[in-house]
Amino acid sequence: MRIETNRHGAVTVVSPKGPVQTEEDAIQLRTESLEVLGKTLGRFVIDVTEMTFVNSFGLEALVDVTLELGASGQSLKLCGISDTLREIITITDQTSKFQQFEDVQTAVRSFL
C-alpha cells in the first residue's frame, strides 16, 4: 500500500492506494494520518476509494485517528467508501465514529 496526499483548497486529502492488510500498512496509515492531522489542525479527509480492503489493523488505525480528532470535537471524514469497507465498519459497529461522504468534493465542502 502507498499513501498519496493532495491539497484541495485548504483541505488535505489523504489517499491510501491498495489494501491495508498488514500491521505495517496500518502503522503507516495511522502515522501519516496523525502527521497530517497535526499539520492541518484536523482539516483533512481520507479518500478510501482505492483502499480495496481493510483488516482489523487498518480499522483500528482509522479508529485511532478519529479518537485523536475526537479530542478536539471532530471526527474522521471518510469519502469514497466501497461496499466492502462500509460493511466492515457496520459489522464492527464503528459507523458512528466516522463521517462518511460520497466523494472528495463533498467531503472537502463540509469544511466550509
Partner: protein, 622 residues
C-alpha cells in the same frame, strides 16, 4: 495474515462435529472393543472347557465300558449268567452308567441292567462269530447320552456285544450356560456403555467445545461470535456463553470509557456543559483578569497546539500560540476597554507556514465578580480560501464577459456609423458581433453549468446524436480562430460515424472547451489535431492533441478542479475562467466516461475524452 503453526498438521478433530468429545467417543469405542474381547475370550474358554469335558466324559465311558467288559468276559467264560446279571445291576447301582446289557446279535439278551429284558437263560453253545472290533462310542445330542458298544471274546470266540449307556457329566453341560451368559453380559455391558455415553456425551461435548474456544482465544481470536459454543451443549455451554457476553459488555463499557477519556483529553466530563463544549469543533477558552486559563475545551487545545491539561491553570500570555492576540485580550479584560474584539490570524496564501487561518472572537464577561474573557476560536481557512477563489472567479468572469461585450459594442458602433454606406464594413461588424455573442453565450453557459454542479443538479438528457454533424460543426466553429492564430488545425475523422446516445448540448459544450483550450494555449505556428475514433460497441474516443506550452505533472490533476488554472506564469496573459476542463470532465463522467490528460512541458498536451457506447451502458445498467 498469520497462519497457525498447526494449520497444516493432520487433525483428527476436524472429523468430529464441534462439541463432539473426542475423548468420549474414543473411550466409548475402546470400552466396547474391550467388552467384545472379554466376551470372545469367555466364549472360547467355555468352548475349550466343553471340549475337554466331552473328551473326559468319553474317556470315562470307555474306561467304564472296558472294566465292565473284562468282568463280563470272566463271568461268561465261567458260564456264570447270574453273576453277569449282578454285574449289570451293580454297574447301574454304582451310578457310573445308566444302563448296560450283554447280548448276542440275532439270539437275544444274556444280561441287562433291566432284568426283564434278559431273554437267554444260558450261554448258547454256538453263535454267529463276528470279527473283533474296537469299542465304538456314540453320543446323542438329543438325549445327552453316550453309548459304548464293545465286542466280548469268550473262549476265543467273538460276537457277543456289550452295550453300556452313560450320562455326560454336569461340567460339560454347564459350559453352554457360560457361553450364553458371556454373550448376555457382553450385550448388556455394551448397552449400558452406550446409555452412559449418551448421558454424558453433551456434558463432555460442552467441555470439548469450551476447550476449542479457549484454544482459539489463545491464538488471538477475540470475537465473541467465534468463541461462543452451541446452546444445546447443556449448562456448561450456557454458562460459558454468558461469561463471554459479560466480558464483551465489560469491554464495550471500557471502550466507551476510553473514547470519553480521549475526547476530553483525559478528563472525564461525560455530562453537562463541559461535555457539550467538548463536542464543539470551535475552541473555547475562558480566562480570568489575571490571564489564568480557567477552562479550555479540546478544540482550543488543538488550535493553540498545547495539551489541555497544560493549558488549564496556565497564564494565557505564556501560551506561545496566543502571543498575537494578547494585546486584544488585555484590552477586552480592561473594563474601560472594548467589550468585544475579532481578529483573524493566518494567511491563505501561505497555509504551509501558518497552518490555518484562525478567527478569534474575544468577549468580556462582566457578570462575574472579576472580569473574565471568553475566547472563541474558529478555523476559517477553507472559508477564506473559498472567498478568495470566488472573488478571483468573479474578477475573471467579469473580465471574460467584458471582452466580448466591448468587442460587440465597438463593432455595433462601427456598423451604426457605417450605416448603409459601406455594406462590407457592416457585414464584417455583424459577423464579429455574431461570433462574440456566441462566445458570450458559451461563457454564460459555463457559469450556469458551474452553478448546477455546485447545487448538485447538473444532469444529462441522452438522445440520439449524429456525431458527424457534431464534429463538422466543431471544425467549422474553430476554423477561423485557428487561422487567426496561424495554428494548423486538423480533424482526423473516421470514415463512418455512428449515432450515439448522449446529451448533444452538454457533449458539444465539453468538446468546445477541450478544442478551445487547445487553441488558446497553443502559440502561433503550432498544431492542434482532433482525432476521433469509435469502437465496435459505439464507444467514442476523442483525442485533442496540441503542440502547446504543456502542463507540469504536479498541475495535471489540479487543472480539473473548478476555478483552478495551472500555476504557470506563461499563461498569465491568457484569459480563462478555470471552468472549461472541470465542466468537460464532469460532463464526460455524467455520460459514464472521463477526460484525462497526458502532457509534457513545452511539448504539448493530449486531452482524451471517452464516452461509452449505448451497448456498454446497457451492460452496466444490467
Amino acid at each position: 495474515m498469520t497462519s497457525s503453526p498447526t494449520s497444516n498438521r493432520f487433525d483428527i478433530r476436524k472429523h468430529f462435529a464441534r462439541g463432539e468429545s473426542l475423548v468420549a467417543a474414543t473411550g466409548m469405542a475402546f470400552i466396547a472393543i474391550l467388552a467384545l474381547a472379554i466376551g470372545a475370550v469367555v466364549w472360547i474358554s467355555a468352548k475349550t472347557v466343553d471340549v475337554s469335558a466331552t473328551i473326559q466324559a468319553n474317556n470315562q465311558s470307555t474306561q467304564t465300558s472296558e472294566l465292565i467288559a473284562s468282568q463280563a468276559e470272566l463271568r461268561l467264560r465261567d458260564n456264570d449268567l447270574p453273576g453277569l446279571r449282578r454285574l449289570m445291576l451293580d454297574a447301574v447301582a454304582s451310578g457310573l452308567v445308566e444302563s448296560c446289557e450283554v447280548h448276542i446279535p440275532e439270539l437275544g439278551v444274556l444280561a441287562s441292567s433291566n432284568p426283564s429284558q434278559s431273554s437267554l437263560n444260558e450261554l448258547p453253545d454256538t453263535w454267529l462269530t463276528a470279527p473283533e472290533l474296537p469299542a465304538v462310542l456314540e453320543y446323542s445330542e438329543a438325549t445327552g447320552k453316550t453309548t459304548v458298544r464293545d465286542s466280548l471274546v469268550v473262549n476265543g470266540q467273538s460276537g457277543i456285544v456289550l452295550e453300556v449307556v452313560t450320562i455326560r457329566g454336569k461340567e460339560a453341560v454347564g459350559s453352554d450356560s457360560i457361553r450364553v451368559s458371556s454373550v448376555g453380559i457382553t450385550s448388556v455391558g455394551l448397552v449400558l456403555v452406550l446409555l452412559v455415553y449418551r448421558r454424558f456425551r453433551n456434558r463432555l461435548g460442552a467441555l470439548s467445545a469450551i476447550g476449542d474456544s479457549l484454544r482459539s482465544a489463545a491464538e488471538g481470536e477475540r470475537r465473541v461470535a467465534c468463541l461462543i459454543v452451541g446452546e444445546n451443549l447443556g449448562p456448561e455451554g450456557k454458562i460459558w456463553n454468558t461469561l463471554l457476553e459479560e466480558r464483551e459488555s465489560f469491554e464495550n463499557v471500557m471502550y466507551e470509557h476510553e473514547v470519553a477519556e480521549a475526547s476530553t483529553n483525559g478528563r472525564i466530563e461525560s455530562v453537562g456543559l463541559p461535555a457539550a463544549c467538548n463536542t464543539l469543533m470551535q475552541g473555547i477558552v475562558l480566562i480570568e483578569s489575571d490571564q489564568t486559563v480557567v477552562y479550555a475545551n479540546g478544540a482550543a487545545s488543538n488550535f493553540l497546539r498545547i495539551d489541555r491539561e497544560e493549558l488549564v491553570g496556565q497564564k494565557f500570555d505564556q501560551v506561545p500560540e496566543a502571543n498575537l492576540i494578547m494585546d486584544l485580550t488585555r484590552n477586552v479584560l480592561d473594563v474601560q476597554g472594548t467589550k468585544r474584539q475579532v481578529i483573524e490570524i493566518g494567511d491563505v496564501e501561505n497555509i504551509e507556514v501558518h497552518g490555518a487561518v484562525l478567527r478569534f472572537v474575544i468577549t468580556r464577561i462582566d457578570d462575574a465578580e472579576v472580569p473574565q474573557a471568553l475566547i472563541f476560536i474558529e478555523d476559517v481557512t477553507q472559508q477564506r480560501l473559498a472567498d478568495q477563489s470566488q472573488g478571483a472567479f468573479i474578477a475573471q468572469a467579469t473580465h471574460e464577459l467584458r471582452t466580448p461585450l466591448t468587442t460587440i459594442r465597438l463593432y455595433a458602433e462601427e456598423a451604426v456609423e457605417a450605416g448603409s454606406d459601406d455594406e462590407l464594413i457592416r457585414e464584417k461588424a455583424l459577423n464579429v458581433i455574431n461570433s462574440e455573442t456566441r462566445r458570450l453565450e458559451r461563457i454564460v453557459g459555463d457559469m450556469l453549468c458551474v452553478s448546477e454542479i455546485e447545487a448538485g443538479s447538473l444532469s444529462i438528457h441522452p438522445d440520439p446524436v449524429r456525431t458527424e454533424q457534431m464534429f463538422k460543426s466543431l471544425e467549422h466553429d474553430y476554423e477561423a480562430q485557428a487561422k487567426e492564430k496561424s495554428i494548423e488545425m486538423s480533424f482526423d475523422l473516421p470514415p463512418k460515424f455512428p449515432t450515439i446516445q448522449a446529451d448533444r448540448d452538454r457533449l458539444g459544450q465539453a468538446l468546445h472547451n477541450l478544442v478551445g483550450n487547445a487553441i488558446k494555449y497553443t502559440p502561433s505556428g503550432g498544431k492542434v489535431e482532433v482525432k476521433v475514433s469509435f469502437a465496435d460497441n459505439d464507444s467514442m474516443r476523442v483525442d485533442v492533441i496540441d503542440s502547446g506550452i504543456g502542463i507540469d505533472e504536479s498541475q495535471q490533476e489540479r487543472i480539473f478542479d473548478r476555478f483552478c488554472r495551472a500555476d504557470d506564469r506563461r499563461i498569465a496573459q491568457v484569459t480563462g475562467s478555470g471552468l472549461g476542463l472541470a465542466l468537460a470532465r464532469q460532463i464526460a463522467r455524467l455520460h459514464g466516461g472521463d477526460v484525462t490528460v497526458e502532457s509534457a512541458i513545452d511539448k504539448g498536451s493530449t486531452f482524451t475524452m471517452t464516452i461509452p457506447g449505448a451497448s456498454e451502458e446497457l451492460a452496466k445498467a444490467a
